[in-house]
Protein backbone atom coordinates (compact mmCIF):
# COMPACT_ATOMS: atom_id res chain seq x y z
CA UNK A 1 0.00 0.00 0.00
CA UNK A 2 1.25 3.47 -0.90
CA UNK A 3 0.75 5.97 1.90
CA UNK A 4 0.19 9.62 1.38
CA UNK A 5 2.82 11.71 3.15
CA UNK A 6 1.88 15.41 3.02
CA UNK A 7 4.83 17.69 2.25
CA UNK A 8 3.80 20.50 4.60
CA UNK A 9 4.13 18.46 7.79
CA UNK A 10 6.97 17.47 10.08
CA UNK A 11 7.31 13.83 11.21
CA UNK A 12 8.78 11.77 14.02
CA UNK A 13 10.43 8.37 13.72
CA UNK A 14 7.58 7.06 15.89
CA UNK A 15 5.10 8.01 13.13
CA UNK A 16 3.53 11.16 14.53
CA UNK A 17 2.96 14.13 12.24
CA UNK A 18 3.17 17.77 13.31
CA UNK A 19 1.54 20.72 11.59
CA UNK A 20 3.10 24.01 12.62
CA UNK A 21 1.10 27.24 12.55
CA UNK A 22 3.25 29.93 14.18
CA UNK A 23 3.74 28.63 17.73
CA UNK A 24 0.82 26.14 17.68
CA UNK A 25 1.61 22.57 16.71
CA UNK A 26 -1.18 20.15 15.80
CA UNK A 27 -0.18 16.52 16.32
CA UNK A 28 -1.52 13.31 14.81
CA UNK A 29 -0.37 9.87 13.71
CA UNK A 30 0.43 9.02 10.12
CA UNK A 31 -1.61 6.87 7.81
CA UNK A 32 1.18 4.31 7.92
CA UNK A 33 0.91 4.14 11.73
CA UNK A 34 -2.85 3.65 11.83
CA UNK A 35 -2.68 1.05 9.09
CA UNK A 36 -0.10 -0.95 11.01
CA UNK A 37 -2.01 -0.76 14.27
CA UNK A 38 -5.30 -1.87 12.75
CA UNK A 39 -8.68 -0.78 14.06
CA UNK A 40 -8.09 1.75 16.81
CA UNK A 41 -10.51 1.28 19.69
CA UNK A 42 -9.15 3.55 22.39
CA UNK A 43 -7.28 6.83 22.76
CA UNK A 44 -5.86 8.22 25.99
CA UNK A 45 -4.85 11.84 25.62
CA UNK A 46 -3.50 14.47 28.03
CA UNK A 47 -5.73 17.14 29.55
CA UNK A 48 -5.55 20.73 28.45
CA UNK A 49 -2.86 22.61 30.33
CA UNK A 50 -0.64 19.57 30.71
CA UNK A 51 3.02 19.90 29.79
CA UNK A 52 4.54 17.59 27.24
CA UNK A 53 8.21 17.03 26.43
CA UNK A 54 9.76 16.38 23.04
CA UNK A 55 10.34 12.66 22.35
CA UNK A 56 8.50 11.65 25.53
CA UNK A 57 5.18 9.75 25.56
CA UNK A 58 2.12 11.98 26.01
CA UNK A 59 -0.62 9.40 25.60
CA UNK A 60 -1.54 6.10 24.01
CA UNK A 61 -3.73 4.75 21.28
CA UNK A 62 -4.79 1.12 21.28
CA UNK A 63 -5.97 -1.23 18.62
CA UNK A 64 -7.66 -4.48 19.60
CA UNK A 65 -4.33 -6.23 19.55
CA UNK A 66 -1.81 -3.69 20.83
CA UNK A 67 -1.01 -0.57 22.83
CA UNK A 68 1.02 2.13 21.14
CA UNK A 69 2.64 5.10 22.89
CA UNK A 70 2.30 8.55 21.38
CA UNK A 71 5.42 10.73 21.40
CA UNK A 72 5.43 14.49 21.53
CA UNK A 73 7.11 16.05 18.50
CA UNK A 74 7.84 19.23 20.49
CA UNK A 75 7.82 20.38 24.10
CA UNK A 76 5.09 22.71 25.29
CA UNK A 77 1.64 23.01 26.81
CA UNK A 78 -1.42 21.14 25.57
CA UNK A 79 -4.05 23.72 24.61
CA UNK A 80 -6.62 21.40 23.05
CA UNK A 81 -7.30 17.67 22.73
CA UNK A 82 -9.51 16.02 20.14
CA UNK A 83 -12.54 15.09 22.27
CA UNK A 84 -14.18 13.40 19.30
CA UNK A 85 -11.66 10.58 19.50
CA UNK A 86 -12.89 9.56 22.94
CA UNK A 87 -16.23 8.39 21.52
CA UNK A 88 -15.06 7.51 18.03
CA UNK A 89 -11.41 6.45 18.07
CA UNK A 90 -11.99 4.87 14.65
CA UNK A 91 -11.66 8.39 13.17
CA UNK A 92 -7.92 7.79 13.53
CA UNK A 93 -8.20 5.05 10.91
CA UNK A 94 -10.61 6.87 8.65
CA UNK A 95 -8.96 10.26 8.57
CA UNK A 96 -5.56 10.31 10.31
CA UNK A 97 -4.47 13.56 8.61
CA UNK A 98 -7.48 15.74 9.46
CA UNK A 99 -10.33 14.75 11.78
CA UNK A 100 -8.07 12.22 13.51
CA UNK A 101 -5.72 14.87 14.95
CA UNK A 102 -4.78 14.19 18.59
CA UNK A 103 -3.68 17.34 20.41
CA UNK A 104 -2.63 20.94 19.88
CA UNK A 105 0.51 22.10 21.64
CA UNK A 106 1.69 25.61 22.31
CA UNK A 107 5.36 24.97 21.73
CA UNK A 108 8.08 26.26 24.00
CA UNK A 109 10.71 26.81 21.35
CA UNK A 110 10.86 26.60 17.57
CA UNK A 111 14.40 25.28 17.85
CA UNK A 112 13.06 21.78 18.51
CA UNK A 113 11.57 21.64 15.02
CA UNK A 114 15.10 21.17 13.67
CA UNK A 115 15.23 17.64 15.07
CA UNK A 116 11.98 16.53 13.38
CA UNK A 117 12.09 14.83 10.01
CA UNK A 118 10.67 16.10 6.73
CA UNK A 119 8.29 14.33 4.37
CA UNK A 120 11.03 13.04 2.05
CA UNK A 121 12.92 11.41 4.88
CA UNK A 122 9.74 10.01 6.39
CA UNK A 123 8.82 8.41 3.08
CA UNK A 124 12.19 6.66 3.06
CA UNK A 125 11.63 5.51 6.63
CA UNK A 126 8.32 3.78 5.89
CA UNK A 127 9.54 2.36 2.59
CA UNK A 128 12.02 0.14 4.46
Amino acid sequence: MIHKVPEDLYYTKEHEWAYVDENIVTVGVTSYAQENLGEIVYAELPDEGQKVTQNEPFGVIESVKAVSDLYAPVSGTVIETNEGLMDKPGILNDDPWNDGWLIRIEMDTEKELASLIKAGEYKKLIAK
Binding site: G38, E39, V41, Y42, V64, K65, V67
Partner: protein, 360 residues
Amino acid sequence: MSDAKKTPLHKWHNENGGKMVNYAGWDMPVQYQKGLVSEHEFTRKKASLFDVSHMGEFRFVGSEALKALYFLSPSNVEKLEEGESCYSFFPNEQGGVVDDLLIYCFKKQKDYLICVNASNAEKIGEHIKKHSTDFDVQIVNECEMWGQVAIQGPEAIKMTTELISGVDKLERFHFGSFDYKDSSVIVARTGYTGEDGFEIFVSPDQTEELWKDLLAKGAEPCGLAARDTLRLEAALNLYGNELSEDCNPFERRMAWTVDFKKLNFMAKDRLVELKEKASRKLVGLKVLERAIPRAGYEVLDGDEVVGLVTSGTMSPSLSEPIAMVWIDKKSAESDKKLKVQIRKKQVEAQITPLPFLKNV
Protein backbone atom coordinates in the same frame (compact mmCIF):
# COMPACT_ATOMS: atom_id res chain seq x y z
CA MET B 1 12.94 -13.24 8.69
CA SER B 2 14.57 -15.40 6.00
CA ASP B 3 15.16 -18.27 8.44
CA ALA B 4 11.56 -18.24 9.71
CA LYS B 5 9.69 -21.45 8.95
CA LYS B 6 6.98 -21.40 6.32
CA THR B 7 3.73 -23.33 6.23
CA PRO B 8 2.42 -24.86 2.98
CA LEU B 9 0.12 -21.82 2.73
CA HIS B 10 2.89 -19.23 3.03
CA LYS B 11 2.81 -18.28 -0.63
CA TRP B 12 -1.00 -18.04 -0.58
CA HIS B 13 -0.92 -15.70 2.45
CA ASN B 14 1.62 -13.44 0.74
CA GLU B 15 -0.36 -13.29 -2.45
CA ASN B 16 -3.66 -12.64 -0.70
CA GLY B 17 -2.95 -9.71 1.57
CA GLY B 18 -1.71 -11.62 4.61
CA LYS B 19 0.28 -9.34 6.88
CA MET B 20 3.11 -11.62 7.89
CA VAL B 21 4.80 -11.65 11.29
CA ASN B 22 7.19 -13.94 13.05
CA TYR B 23 5.27 -16.15 15.44
CA ALA B 24 7.08 -18.90 17.35
CA GLY B 25 9.71 -19.06 14.61
CA TRP B 26 7.13 -19.21 11.81
CA ASP B 27 6.29 -16.53 9.27
CA MET B 28 2.53 -16.34 9.85
CA PRO B 29 -0.38 -14.08 8.83
CA VAL B 30 -1.43 -11.88 11.77
CA GLN B 31 -4.31 -10.57 9.68
CA TYR B 32 -5.48 -10.12 6.11
CA GLN B 33 -6.76 -6.99 4.37
CA LYS B 34 -10.15 -6.93 6.06
CA GLY B 35 -8.51 -6.75 9.45
CA LEU B 36 -8.89 -8.26 12.88
CA VAL B 37 -12.41 -7.11 13.73
CA SER B 38 -13.98 -8.16 10.41
CA GLU B 39 -12.21 -11.50 10.54
CA HIS B 40 -13.35 -12.04 14.12
CA GLU B 41 -16.95 -11.15 13.31
CA PHE B 42 -17.00 -13.31 10.21
CA THR B 43 -15.96 -16.29 12.33
CA ARG B 44 -18.82 -15.69 14.76
CA LYS B 45 -21.39 -15.14 11.97
CA LYS B 46 -20.30 -17.51 9.17
CA ALA B 47 -17.04 -19.47 9.18
CA SER B 48 -13.34 -18.67 8.97
CA LEU B 49 -10.26 -20.58 7.93
CA PHE B 50 -7.12 -20.62 10.01
CA ASP B 51 -3.73 -21.84 8.87
CA VAL B 52 -2.60 -23.87 11.87
CA SER B 53 0.06 -25.81 10.01
CA HIS B 54 2.64 -24.45 12.44
CA MET B 55 1.24 -26.62 15.24
CA GLY B 56 3.46 -29.57 16.14
CA GLU B 57 2.49 -33.24 15.90
CA PHE B 58 4.09 -36.27 17.52
CA ARG B 59 2.96 -39.84 17.14
CA PHE B 60 3.25 -42.49 19.84
CA VAL B 61 3.31 -46.00 18.35
CA GLY B 62 4.15 -49.34 19.91
CA SER B 63 2.79 -51.82 22.43
CA GLU B 64 3.23 -49.31 25.29
CA ALA B 65 2.17 -46.14 23.51
CA LEU B 66 -0.71 -45.68 25.93
CA LYS B 67 1.48 -46.42 28.94
CA ALA B 68 3.87 -43.67 27.89
CA LEU B 69 1.03 -41.17 27.48
CA TYR B 70 -0.59 -42.32 30.72
CA PHE B 71 2.65 -41.38 32.44
CA LEU B 72 3.27 -38.10 30.61
CA SER B 73 -0.27 -36.74 30.98
CA PRO B 74 -2.33 -36.41 34.19
CA SER B 75 -5.56 -36.95 32.21
CA ASN B 76 -7.67 -40.05 31.62
CA VAL B 77 -5.98 -40.97 28.37
CA GLU B 78 -6.71 -44.66 29.10
CA LYS B 79 -10.40 -43.92 28.61
CA LEU B 80 -9.95 -42.61 25.07
CA GLU B 81 -11.50 -44.89 22.48
CA GLU B 82 -10.41 -45.07 18.88
CA GLY B 83 -11.49 -41.86 17.16
CA GLU B 84 -11.69 -39.80 20.36
CA SER B 85 -9.50 -36.94 21.47
CA CYS B 86 -9.04 -35.02 24.69
CA TYR B 87 -7.47 -31.79 25.89
CA SER B 88 -4.64 -32.26 28.36
CA PHE B 89 -1.19 -31.00 29.34
CA PHE B 90 2.23 -32.45 30.06
CA PRO B 91 3.54 -31.43 33.48
CA ASN B 92 7.25 -30.93 34.11
CA GLU B 93 8.96 -32.46 37.14
CA GLN B 94 7.83 -29.53 39.33
CA GLY B 95 4.21 -29.80 38.20
CA GLY B 96 4.39 -26.75 35.91
CA VAL B 97 3.15 -26.95 32.35
CA VAL B 98 5.53 -28.01 29.56
CA ASP B 99 2.69 -27.56 27.09
CA ASP B 100 -1.05 -27.96 26.75
CA LEU B 101 -2.11 -30.25 23.95
CA LEU B 102 -4.68 -32.46 22.30
CA ILE B 103 -4.32 -36.24 22.39
CA TYR B 104 -5.91 -38.31 19.61
CA CYS B 105 -6.44 -42.06 19.95
CA PHE B 106 -5.92 -43.80 16.60
CA LYS B 107 -5.72 -47.32 17.97
CA LYS B 108 -6.24 -48.13 21.60
CA GLN B 109 -3.02 -49.00 23.51
CA LYS B 110 -0.85 -48.69 20.41
CA ASP B 111 -1.27 -45.57 18.32
CA TYR B 112 -1.82 -41.97 19.45
CA LEU B 113 -1.10 -38.55 18.03
CA ILE B 114 -0.55 -35.41 20.06
CA CYS B 115 -0.91 -31.88 18.73
CA VAL B 116 1.19 -29.25 20.52
CA ASN B 117 1.87 -25.52 20.32
CA ALA B 118 4.34 -24.41 17.65
CA SER B 119 6.31 -22.48 20.24
CA ASN B 120 6.79 -25.64 22.31
CA ALA B 121 7.23 -28.30 19.63
CA GLU B 122 10.99 -28.60 19.97
CA LYS B 123 10.88 -28.62 23.77
CA ILE B 124 8.07 -31.18 23.82
CA GLY B 125 10.08 -33.45 21.51
CA GLU B 126 12.94 -33.43 24.03
CA HIS B 127 10.60 -33.84 26.99
CA ILE B 128 8.92 -36.91 25.50
CA LYS B 129 12.23 -38.47 24.54
CA LYS B 130 13.60 -37.98 28.05
CA HIS B 131 10.57 -39.39 29.86
CA SER B 132 9.49 -42.26 27.62
CA THR B 133 12.66 -44.38 27.69
CA ASP B 134 11.09 -46.95 30.06
CA PHE B 135 8.31 -47.74 27.61
CA ASP B 136 8.13 -49.81 24.46
CA VAL B 137 7.07 -46.89 22.30
CA GLN B 138 8.38 -45.22 19.22
CA ILE B 139 7.99 -41.45 19.10
CA VAL B 140 7.68 -40.08 15.59
CA ASN B 141 8.07 -36.36 15.02
CA GLU B 142 5.37 -35.68 12.42
CA CYS B 143 5.62 -31.88 12.50
CA GLU B 144 6.78 -31.76 8.87
CA MET B 145 4.28 -34.37 7.75
CA TRP B 146 1.13 -32.32 8.24
CA GLY B 147 -0.43 -29.15 7.07
CA GLN B 148 -3.33 -28.16 9.27
CA VAL B 149 -6.39 -26.07 8.50
CA ALA B 150 -9.05 -25.11 11.03
CA ILE B 151 -12.52 -24.08 9.91
CA GLN B 152 -14.57 -22.48 12.67
CA GLY B 153 -17.96 -20.81 12.87
CA PRO B 154 -21.68 -21.56 12.71
CA GLU B 155 -21.49 -22.53 9.02
CA ALA B 156 -18.27 -24.55 9.31
CA ILE B 157 -20.00 -27.92 9.54
CA LYS B 158 -22.16 -27.32 6.49
CA MET B 159 -19.33 -25.94 4.35
CA THR B 160 -16.96 -28.76 5.23
CA THR B 161 -19.56 -31.47 4.75
CA GLU B 162 -20.20 -30.24 1.20
CA LEU B 163 -16.55 -30.90 0.48
CA ILE B 164 -15.75 -33.90 2.68
CA SER B 165 -18.80 -36.05 2.99
CA GLY B 166 -19.69 -37.55 6.36
CA VAL B 167 -17.80 -35.17 8.65
CA ASP B 168 -21.05 -33.80 10.06
CA LYS B 169 -21.53 -37.17 11.81
CA LEU B 170 -18.52 -36.56 14.03
CA GLU B 171 -19.32 -35.62 17.61
CA ARG B 172 -17.34 -32.96 19.48
CA PHE B 173 -13.80 -34.14 20.28
CA HIS B 174 -14.17 -37.04 17.85
CA PHE B 175 -12.12 -37.43 14.69
CA GLY B 176 -11.71 -39.74 11.76
CA SER B 177 -10.06 -40.31 8.42
CA PHE B 178 -12.17 -39.11 5.48
CA ASP B 179 -11.86 -39.23 1.72
CA TYR B 180 -10.92 -35.95 0.17
CA LYS B 181 -10.55 -36.13 -3.61
CA ASP B 182 -8.02 -38.87 -4.38
CA SER B 183 -6.53 -39.03 -0.93
CA SER B 184 -7.64 -38.77 2.68
CA VAL B 185 -7.50 -36.25 5.48
CA ILE B 186 -7.95 -36.49 9.24
CA VAL B 187 -10.84 -34.36 10.42
CA ALA B 188 -11.34 -33.58 14.12
CA ARG B 189 -14.34 -31.74 15.53
CA THR B 190 -12.37 -29.41 17.76
CA GLY B 191 -11.19 -25.83 17.68
CA TYR B 192 -9.87 -22.80 19.48
CA THR B 193 -12.52 -20.15 18.93
CA GLY B 194 -15.59 -21.08 20.99
CA GLU B 195 -17.33 -22.00 17.73
CA ASP B 196 -18.21 -25.38 16.31
CA GLY B 197 -15.98 -26.54 13.51
CA PHE B 198 -13.13 -28.77 12.50
CA GLU B 199 -9.38 -29.01 12.60
CA ILE B 200 -8.18 -30.84 9.50
CA PHE B 201 -4.84 -32.58 9.19
CA VAL B 202 -3.83 -32.73 5.56
CA SER B 203 -0.64 -33.55 3.68
CA PRO B 204 1.49 -30.44 3.01
CA ASP B 205 1.11 -30.73 -0.78
CA GLN B 206 -2.67 -30.82 -0.52
CA THR B 207 -3.07 -28.07 2.09
CA GLU B 208 -3.46 -25.20 -0.36
CA GLU B 209 -5.99 -27.15 -2.41
CA LEU B 210 -8.09 -27.88 0.67
CA TRP B 211 -7.80 -24.25 1.76
CA LYS B 212 -8.99 -22.97 -1.62
CA ASP B 213 -11.82 -25.51 -1.74
CA LEU B 214 -13.08 -24.34 1.65
CA LEU B 215 -12.82 -20.69 0.56
CA ALA B 216 -14.96 -21.60 -2.44
CA LYS B 217 -17.63 -22.85 -0.02
CA GLY B 218 -17.81 -19.37 1.49
CA ALA B 219 -15.27 -19.40 4.32
CA GLU B 220 -12.85 -16.48 4.67
CA PRO B 221 -9.28 -16.46 5.96
CA CYS B 222 -8.61 -15.34 9.52
CA GLY B 223 -5.22 -14.38 10.97
CA LEU B 224 -3.55 -14.95 14.31
CA ALA B 225 -4.74 -11.66 15.81
CA ALA B 226 -8.41 -12.59 15.53
CA ARG B 227 -7.61 -16.14 16.59
CA ASP B 228 -6.39 -14.60 19.85
CA THR B 229 -9.50 -12.45 20.46
CA LEU B 230 -11.75 -15.40 19.59
CA ARG B 231 -10.02 -17.77 22.00
CA LEU B 232 -10.01 -15.13 24.73
CA GLU B 233 -13.78 -14.57 24.45
CA ALA B 234 -14.13 -18.36 24.73
CA ALA B 235 -11.74 -18.31 27.74
CA LEU B 236 -9.37 -20.85 26.23
CA ASN B 237 -5.89 -20.77 27.71
CA LEU B 238 -2.95 -19.60 25.64
CA TYR B 239 0.46 -21.01 26.49
CA GLY B 240 2.76 -18.13 27.45
CA ASN B 241 -0.16 -16.12 28.85
CA GLU B 242 -2.24 -18.41 31.08
CA LEU B 243 0.20 -21.34 31.12
CA SER B 244 3.94 -21.65 31.68
CA GLU B 245 6.66 -23.94 33.02
CA ASP B 246 6.38 -22.39 36.47
CA CYS B 247 2.63 -21.88 36.78
CA ASN B 248 0.44 -23.89 39.14
CA PRO B 249 -2.05 -25.64 36.81
CA PHE B 250 -4.65 -25.64 39.59
CA GLU B 251 -4.59 -21.85 39.53
CA ARG B 252 -5.02 -21.86 35.73
CA ARG B 253 -8.33 -23.66 35.16
CA MET B 254 -6.59 -26.97 34.40
CA ALA B 255 -7.87 -28.98 37.41
CA TRP B 256 -10.48 -30.78 35.29
CA THR B 257 -7.74 -32.32 33.17
CA VAL B 258 -6.09 -33.99 36.18
CA ASP B 259 -7.32 -37.28 37.63
CA PHE B 260 -5.59 -38.17 40.88
CA LYS B 261 -7.25 -41.59 40.86
CA LYS B 262 -4.74 -42.56 38.20
CA LEU B 263 -2.07 -44.81 39.69
CA ASN B 264 0.98 -42.90 38.68
CA PHE B 265 1.97 -40.14 36.35
CA MET B 266 4.60 -37.50 35.93
CA ALA B 267 4.90 -35.22 39.00
CA LYS B 268 1.78 -36.69 40.64
CA ASP B 269 2.99 -36.00 44.19
CA ARG B 270 4.02 -32.53 43.24
CA LEU B 271 0.62 -31.88 41.61
CA VAL B 272 -1.15 -33.07 44.80
CA GLU B 273 0.82 -30.44 46.69
CA LEU B 274 0.12 -27.77 44.08
CA LYS B 275 -3.60 -28.49 44.31
CA GLU B 276 -3.52 -27.96 48.08
CA LYS B 277 -1.33 -24.89 47.79
CA ALA B 278 -3.37 -23.21 45.07
CA SER B 279 -4.19 -19.77 46.46
CA ARG B 280 -5.17 -18.01 43.27
CA LYS B 281 -7.45 -18.72 40.37
CA LEU B 282 -8.17 -17.57 36.84
CA VAL B 283 -11.39 -15.63 36.50
CA GLY B 284 -13.02 -13.37 33.96
CA LEU B 285 -13.10 -9.62 34.34
CA LYS B 286 -15.00 -6.93 32.50
CA VAL B 287 -13.61 -3.44 32.70
CA LEU B 288 -16.44 -0.99 33.36
CA GLU B 289 -14.65 2.09 32.11
CA ARG B 290 -13.21 2.93 28.76
CA ALA B 291 -9.74 1.38 28.99
CA ILE B 292 -8.24 -1.90 27.88
CA PRO B 293 -6.61 -4.32 30.31
CA ARG B 294 -3.50 -6.01 28.92
CA ALA B 295 -1.36 -8.97 30.00
CA GLY B 296 0.79 -8.12 33.00
CA TYR B 297 -1.33 -5.26 34.36
CA GLU B 298 -2.00 -5.40 38.11
CA VAL B 299 -5.44 -6.20 39.55
CA LEU B 300 -6.41 -4.53 42.82
CA ASP B 301 -8.97 -5.28 45.52
CA GLY B 302 -9.24 -1.97 47.34
CA ASP B 303 -5.63 -0.83 47.69
CA GLU B 304 -4.18 -4.31 47.64
CA VAL B 305 -2.65 -5.88 44.53
CA VAL B 306 -4.32 -9.30 44.33
CA GLY B 307 -3.09 -10.54 40.96
CA LEU B 308 -2.37 -9.92 37.32
CA VAL B 309 -4.08 -9.82 33.97
CA THR B 310 -2.98 -12.86 31.92
CA SER B 311 -4.80 -11.86 28.69
CA GLY B 312 -6.89 -8.82 27.88
CA THR B 313 -8.39 -7.10 24.89
CA MET B 314 -11.28 -5.07 23.59
CA SER B 315 -13.75 -7.85 22.82
CA PRO B 316 -14.86 -7.46 19.21
CA SER B 317 -18.07 -9.46 19.80
CA LEU B 318 -19.09 -7.81 23.07
CA SER B 319 -17.58 -4.36 22.40
CA GLU B 320 -16.33 -4.32 25.98
CA PRO B 321 -12.84 -4.57 27.43
CA ILE B 322 -12.39 -8.09 28.81
CA ALA B 323 -9.61 -9.96 30.56
CA MET B 324 -8.69 -13.23 32.13
CA VAL B 325 -7.06 -12.44 35.46
CA TRP B 326 -5.05 -14.58 37.87
CA ILE B 327 -6.01 -13.40 41.35
CA ASP B 328 -6.21 -14.40 45.02
CA LYS B 329 -9.15 -16.69 45.70
CA LYS B 330 -10.44 -14.42 48.46
CA SER B 331 -10.95 -11.66 45.88
CA ALA B 332 -12.42 -13.97 43.26
CA GLU B 333 -16.10 -14.01 44.27
CA SER B 334 -18.68 -13.69 41.47
CA ASP B 335 -19.60 -10.14 40.50
CA LYS B 336 -17.02 -8.64 42.84
CA LYS B 337 -15.81 -5.16 41.96
CA LEU B 338 -12.08 -4.89 41.47
CA LYS B 339 -9.73 -2.41 39.84
CA VAL B 340 -7.11 -2.73 37.14
CA GLN B 341 -4.05 -0.51 37.11
CA ILE B 342 -3.92 0.80 33.55
CA ARG B 343 -0.87 3.02 33.26
CA LYS B 344 -1.45 5.83 35.75
CA LYS B 345 -5.14 5.14 36.33
CA GLN B 346 -7.03 2.58 38.37
CA VAL B 347 -10.16 1.61 36.46
CA GLU B 348 -13.30 -0.11 37.74
CA ALA B 349 -13.81 -3.72 36.78
CA GLN B 350 -16.09 -6.57 37.75
CA ILE B 351 -15.66 -10.32 37.92
CA THR B 352 -17.77 -12.06 35.32
CA PRO B 353 -18.34 -15.74 34.50
CA LEU B 354 -16.11 -17.48 32.00
CA PRO B 355 -16.35 -17.97 29.10
CA PHE B 356 -17.32 -14.49 28.01
CA LEU B 357 -18.89 -15.99 24.91
CA LYS B 358 -19.17 -19.49 23.57
CA ASN B 359 -21.37 -20.99 20.89
CA VAL B 360 -20.45 -24.65 21.16
